[in-house]
Structure formats: C-alpha cells, structure tokens
C-alpha cells in the first residue's frame, strides 16, 4: 500500500480517470475518489470497493492522466493486496475466471480457452447454461484444436513460477 501511495502523490484529482473508464457506470466508487481515499488512508473502504475488480486493462485512464500516473498498475496492485488479505470480490465469477486461467497455465504452460471456460463456470450452473449455446454456436463456426498443448518444459516452469513468488520487487 505504501508503494501505491508513493506513486499517486502527484495526483491532482482532476477526475479524467473516472470518466474515461468504460465501466464507470458500474462502479461504486469513482476511480478518482478511490485514489483520493488511498491517499487519505481509508484503506478499508478502498479494498471493499468493487471498482478495481472491474478494471479491463484498457489503459484509457493511464494515457489520459495529466500526471502520467500508471493507474492500471495501481488497480493491479489493489487486486494483489486484496487476495493477500483474503478480501474477495462481490462478483465471485470474476475471481473464478482468474483462478481458472492461472490453473490452466500452471499445468500446461499455456492457456487453453475451452478448458479455462469450463473451469471458470462449472461452479455456477446458471451462468454455465446461459453460455453453453453461445459456446456451441461459436465452436461450430471455427476450426479449433480439441486438446490443450502442454509445453515441453512445463514442469520446470511450474517450479520457477513458485520460486518467483519469493522474490522482492
């Protein structure tokens, strides 16, 4: 959190990030306010917010910020802090997608969309059923590989991924 505060010191609260965000209508706290709250030390409110969980990594806020603050990176940092403190998002599926993605990559070294899709949604039958016809419609129109590809060095990759967790950046 201190690292984040360091990066947003120069924020002038102009609000261009809030209105640039494509999902601003779905946010409970506007981004500008979120930054203000971090600065003022309201960490609890910040981490409870769903604002940063909605980040699409579109970088509109970053390129428009008049102080060149890397807001996207700050949104990423907030995810990480939340997970460390075990604060989970309102939208459980979002987190499940992320976890599924990481799981697939951990096993195969690469992502395989159909499997990731399944792992993300199988715990949410309602959603799953809504997506199924779309998925089938989609697959019919495409030539796809049916099985995931496992990279040759996947065991080592898994090992060094774990090791990377212990370095300090």
């Amino acid at each position: 959190m201190e690292k984040i505060v360091d990066k947003i010191k120069i924020c002038i609260q102009c609000g261009i990030c809030s209105s640039s965000c494509p999902l601003n209508f779905a946010m409970d706290i506007p981004m500008r306010k979120l930054i203000g709250l971090i600065k003022a030390g309201y960490t609890k409110e910040v981490l409870k917010s769903r604002t940063f969980w909605l980040c699409l990594s579109c970088y509109f806020c970053k390129v428009r910020c008049p102080k060149k603050i890397d807001l996207t990176h700050i949104m990423y940092n907030l995810h990480e802090i939340c997970l460390k403190q075990n604060i989970l998002p309102e939208n459980k599926i979002t987190l499940q997608i992320y976890k599924a993605f990481i799981k697939v990559v951990n096993i195969f070294g690469r992502n395989f969309e159909p499997l990731m899709f399944f792992l993300s949604l199988y715990k949410f039958p309602k959603k799953f059923l809504r997506f199924l016809p779309l998925g089938i419609f989609f697959l019919k129109r495409k030539r796809i590989h049916l099985l995931p590809y496992k990279i040759k060095d996947s065991e080592n990759l898994k090992k060094i991924l774990k090791e990377a967790e212990s370095i300090e950046i």
């Binding site: 102009c14 640039s20 306010k33 428009r64």
Partner: protein, 647 residues
C-alpha cells in the same frame, strides 16, 4: 612551489544552509596554523557587515589572495570581486569555492560533506596561488537597440527606448505589428477593448522617428557581444513598395484569390494580396507568393495593372540588412497549442469546437461574424461548454500552467452569456484567478448564473442530433456527468513560439525546461539573460497576461537605456594569450576557434591572436600541443593545481 602569498580563506555559514551540514569550526581548527593561510567564518559574507569584515581582514593582515567558500560563483562571484577591489586586491586574485550548491545541499552525511568541503576549499587555495591579476578593458556601446517581435511587449519596449532618444529597430515576422493582442476582443478582468488600447501604441510606433520598423522580416544571424552586436536581418520580399503605397486597398478589392485568413484563425478568407487587419501598421499590403496567381501560374497581374501608384513590384527580392546594435530585446511571444493532438476532444473532427483565439475572433466586432457568437449552421448556441487546461498542466503535452486561461475562460463565459443568454458550463481543475480584480470578476461571473464543474472532461462525442456530448466526473459531487452542448471552447495552452529554439541558438540563450527563454534569475533578473546585453520580455519568457508583458517590456527598456547611457562597458579579461616563441605554426587552433580570433601569420609562420575577438572558451588552448596558448584565469597550472587539491 612554496607559497609566499598570504591567503585569506573566508568560509560562509549561509545561515544553516552550509553550517548545518558542514562542521566549519572543526574544519578551521584542523587547518589553522598552516603557513600563510588565514581562516575566517561568518554567518553571511554576502551581507554588508560580512563584506566589511572581509575588507577589514584584508587590510589588517595584508592578505594578497582570497578564497571565498560559500554559494555558487554564479551568484556572488561578482560581489566578492568588488569587495576585493575595494580593499585593494585585484578582483582576479580571488577564487570562489562552491560549498553550498555542490556540497552541503547535495550531501546527506555530515562527515562526508565536511570532508568534501575541505577538499573543495583546498583546491581553490591551490589554484589561487597561481592566479594573476587581470585588468578589464572598456569598449564603447553602440546607442542602437534591436527588438525582435512586434507584439505588445516589443511595441512597449520600442516606444520606451525611442522616447529616450535612442534609435530602435523593431523586427516583426508578420506583415503588421500588433501580435496576438491585436486579435483579442476584450481584455480581462476590466473588459476594455484590446484594439482601443493597442492601436494608439501601434500608431505611435509608426510616427516615432526613432523607431525603424521592419515588418515581414526575420533575424538570421547574430554575432558580437554586448555593446557591439552585429545582426543580419532578412527583409522578405513584400512585393509592394512601402514608400509608394498609400494603402488605398484597391488591389485587395480586385484580387481574385481567396485563402484562409491567418489573422482570423482560418475562420474567414483573405485575398492573396492583403493587409492582415484594418488597424495594421504599416497600412501596406503584402503579396502571399504561395497563393498569388502571378507567382504560381504566371497569370493575372491585376494588382499591378490597377495600382495607381505603381507600388506593386513582382520582381522584388529579399533584402539583407546588416546593422550593429548595443543591445537586443527578444519579445517573440507565444504560439497557441494545437488541440488536434488531443484526440478525445475532437477538435477539427467535429464542428463547433473552437480554440480560445478562434473565439476571440468570433467575439471581435471586426471578426468573421462581426462579433456574433453563432454555430457553423448560423444558429445561436443554447448551451456552451468551456474546457480549461487544454494542453496545459498535462505531462502528455505541456506540463506547466498557462497562467491566463482561467481568467480568459471567465471572460468568454461572461461575454458569451451577455451576447447569447446561453447556459454556460466551465470545466476546470483548479481556478487560478490571482490577478488584481480576479476574484471580483469571478463573483460577477457567478452572479450571471454560469455553472462551474470541477473535473477534467474525458471525451467529447458527437451525438445524432448534432450536439456535442461531454463526459466528465463532477469531482465535487463524485458523479459522472454527461452534458450535451452546442458549442465547446477549448482553453488552449500557451506554447513557446516556434522560432524560439532557432533564436536561442543564434543568440546564445538557453531555454528553460518548458521551452521558453531562460531568464538570468527568476526573481531578481527576470528580463536579463545569461548573455549580457540581451534581454527578454513578454510571453517568450513564459505564459503571462498583458499587464505583466508590459511591465517586463518596461523593465527591459529601462535596463537597455541604463546600459546604453553608460556609454562604455567593461569586457571580461578572460581571453586567450599566445606565446609566439613556443608556437610551431601548425594552425590547429585557427581551425578550431569559433570566433575567428586566431589568424595565420604567414610571414612569421605562426598563429596571430586578436584578443578583442576572443570570448575565452579555451578550445584553442587545450588543442595546442606546443603549449603556446593559454587562457587567462584558466591557465593549465591553475587547473592542474586545482585537480591536485580536490583529489
């Protein structure tokens, strides 16, 4: 070498600036008793009592050399040179050790700082032993002044100097003087008409016999030094004889070519032969050769046929004028930020989005709409948005505050409300209305019911109905607002004039981080530059409003008048010296010298130095293998001694 000189070392505390980091007491204790070295310290040596203290010590102990350990020599070297001179020591027998900017302020550790300070001081003690007395020379100042830029700052400076009886050359690149101020409608916060106050001054420039006006001209080369600058001015071919033309305007009437008017920011048309605006000085048209049919197709020629005074001259060529000047004032003003680079604001992509200068032209009674605020389709806007800080205060474009946009935005709000009764929104980040009368004006604008929204709009979209939708967070309410308006005004930033880097190069000036000319000192020498005899005034030094520009112009004029009235000026004695006995006549130095101060003497087969032409860079000295050349005050033994001391 055994030191026979009595050296006084004066260490300044500079309050706590130096004493807070450097253990001066210890430093002195450690070194006192060394032969012929006398250490003193004092809270502020630059103060009057501090200077007296130095003088007293010099006289008491018969000191012959002085080392001042204090702030950067850029700040007070001159002060202490004067002190030495008054006490009877040659000013070039002192040396200034910089233990503030380059020691106490940049070092965290006290011990290390003290150690470094000691080394720095001893390096100067080493060097001062070798220094030699030098004597300044005097040269005459040419009582003629060059002013580059004919905007309000240039005009004001020219008039002030001309009134004092000195000759002024005013060079303007456009066909008329007047600059940006001539384009403005009313001026904030008093709302008096810009041209009503500017035109009389422009007329005075024309009438004053001491002012030589060079419109449609540019400065190309500058050489020389204070008191004696040699300048090459290019008078671009106007194609109209300035002496014959009476400004009747019949040629303009008959010219068949129409192009966008630069003066009206492209909102109206002008002819290929044109006078930029009705009050222009001089009242003589110019032919725009890029668009004139005679020059592009070798056809037409109507203007020449019709001119009753045969003032049109298609064969006119650029004229080069070379003249000498005692001083130069640069007043080249600014250029307006081009908001096209901010994609999300849609300038030029959507209609009815204007920059501030375009709005000035729309508001002006002599402008393209005769002062009416209308949309592209001729309707009167019902809702108008004014976006502040477009391109200013933005690291992606211009990081600085453009200083005047807040007040001119309020002015637009007030004037447009008055003319159209439209609902007006101001989108701002911070309101900076620090000028005299600023707050009163804000109150007046608030009373008019103009809305202020604190937030930087993220984008402007075109709607189906042709209206413009502004998306913005109202940061005071914490709500995302979408406001649809008929017209958007972008309060665009003030940028350095495009010729600024070129002028900086030929004049030898430096630029500040923002790209404007760098002044010598931000507080105490705001219009002086590092080059003696060259001054800056107005927006070329940084964004500012009319009163500030006029004030700077006045100060620059006063500086120039005081300089010229001195009649003579001392020039630095730090020049190269040649010992012909050592010169092998290889000629390397002659090629390297940037000022042609060295010549080849073919009779003696040796290099010949003209000290008056030398600027003291020392390039020749370090290239001379024979060691025949040396640079006064920076001779090899002086620097080598300093190296020995500092390591």
């Amino acid at each position: 070498m055994k030191n026979k000189e009595k050296i006084g070392v004066f260490i300044c505390h500079c309050g706590t600036n130096i004493a807070g980091k450097i253990d001066i007491k210890n430093l002195i204790q450690k070194n006192s008793g060394k032969e012929n070295l006398f250490f003193f310290d004092y809270p502020y040596f630059c103060s009057e009592p501090g200077q007296t203290f130095i003088k007293e010590k010099i006289n008491q102990l018969n000191l012959t050399r002085i080392v001042i350990a204090a702030c950067s020599p850029s700040l007070h070297e001159k002060t202490f040179q004067k002190v030495a001179q008054e006490a009877g020591i040659n000013p070039y027998l002192i040396s200034c050790a910089n233990i503030r900017e380059q020691c106490s302020w940049v070092t965290l550790d006290k011990e290390k700082a003290t150690e470094k300070a000691e080394k720095i001081i001893f390096s100067h003690i080493n060097r001062v032993i070798y220094q030699e007395p030098l004597f300044v020379k005097e040269v005459e100042i040419i009582p003629r002044v060059l002013i580059i830029g004919g905007g309000i700052a240039g005009i004001e400076a020219a008039l002030q100097i001309a009134r004092s009886g000195k000759e002024v050359y005013l060079v303007e690149k456009e066909p008329s003087i007047g600059g940006h101020m001539a384009k403005l409608d009313k001026t904030f916060p008093t709302l008096d008409c810009a041209s009503c106050i500017l035109t009389p001054k422009m007329v005075e420039v024309r009438e004053n016999k001491n002012v030589k006006l060079f419109t449609y001209s540019e400065v190309e080369e500058v050489s020389g030094f204070v008191g004696n600058f040699k300048v090459k001015i290019r008078k671009k071919a106007r194609s109209v004889n300035l002496l014959k033309c009476t400004g009747c305007g019949i040629c303009i009437e008959k010219c068949p070519v129409k192009v966008d008017s630069e003066f009206d920011m492209g909102l109206s048309k002008r002819k290929a032969i044109y006078i930029p605006f009705p009050q222009a000085v001089p009242q003589v048209p110019v032919i725009d050769r890029e668009n004139c049919l005679w020059f592009t197709n070798n056809k037409c020629g109507v203007c020449k046929k019709i001119c009753p005074f045969s003032a049109i001259d298609y064969n006119m060529e650029d004229e080069i004028v070379v003249e000498k000047f005692g001083a130069i004032i640069v007043a080249t003003g600014f250029s307006l930020f081009n908001p096209e680079t901010i994609y999300q604001y849609g300038y030029k992509r959507f209609p009815n989005i204007f920059t501030s200068l375009e709005i000035e032209r729309l508001l002006s009674p002599t402008g393209p709409t005769s002062g009416e605020i209308i949309l592209k389709d001729g309707k009167i806007p019902q809702e108008v948005a004014i976006i502040h800080c477009v391109g200013s205060r933005d690291e992606n474009y211009q990081p600085y505050c453009s200083s005047i946009c807040c007040l001119y935005s309020l002015k637009f709000a007030y004037l447009i409300k008055e003319k159209t009764k439209a609902k007006i929104y101001n989108f701002y980040i911070d309101l900076r209305l620090t000028r005299k009368g600023g707050e009163d004006f804000y109150n007046r604008v608030l009373e008019e019911g103009i809305e202020f929204i604190r937030g930087k709009p993220s984008q402007i979209k075109m709607q189906k109905d042709g209206k413009l939708l502004i998306e913005c967070e109202d940061t005071l309410l914490g709500k995302i607002r979408k406001i649809s308006v008929d017209m958007v005004i972008l309060s665009t930033a003030i940028c350095p004039e495009k010729s600024t880097p070129f002028l900086a190069r030929i004049l030898g000036l430096s630029l500040s981080q923002d790209g404007f000319f760098q002044e010598k000192h931000p507080k105490l020498a705001p219009v002086s530059t590092m080059v003696e005899g060259i001054y800056i005034a107005g927006c070329c030094q940084g964004p500012k409003d009319i009163p500030e520009s006029v004030a700077q112009a006045g100060l620059a004029a006063a500086e120039v008048i005081s300089l010229i009235d001195r009649k003579k000026i001392e020039i630095s004695p730090i020049v190269a010296e040649i010992n012909e006995d050592y010169c092998s006549g290889c000629g390397i130095c002659i090629e390297l010298c940037p000022y042609n101060a060295l010549e080849y003497n073919s009779q003696k087969i040796k290099a010949k130095l003209t000290p008056e032409k030398c600027f003291g860079c020392g390039i020749c000295v370090s290239a001379c293998f024979a060691g025949a050349l040396s640079l006064k005050n920076y001779r090899e033994q002086e620097i080598l001694a300093q190296i020995e001391g500092i390591l």
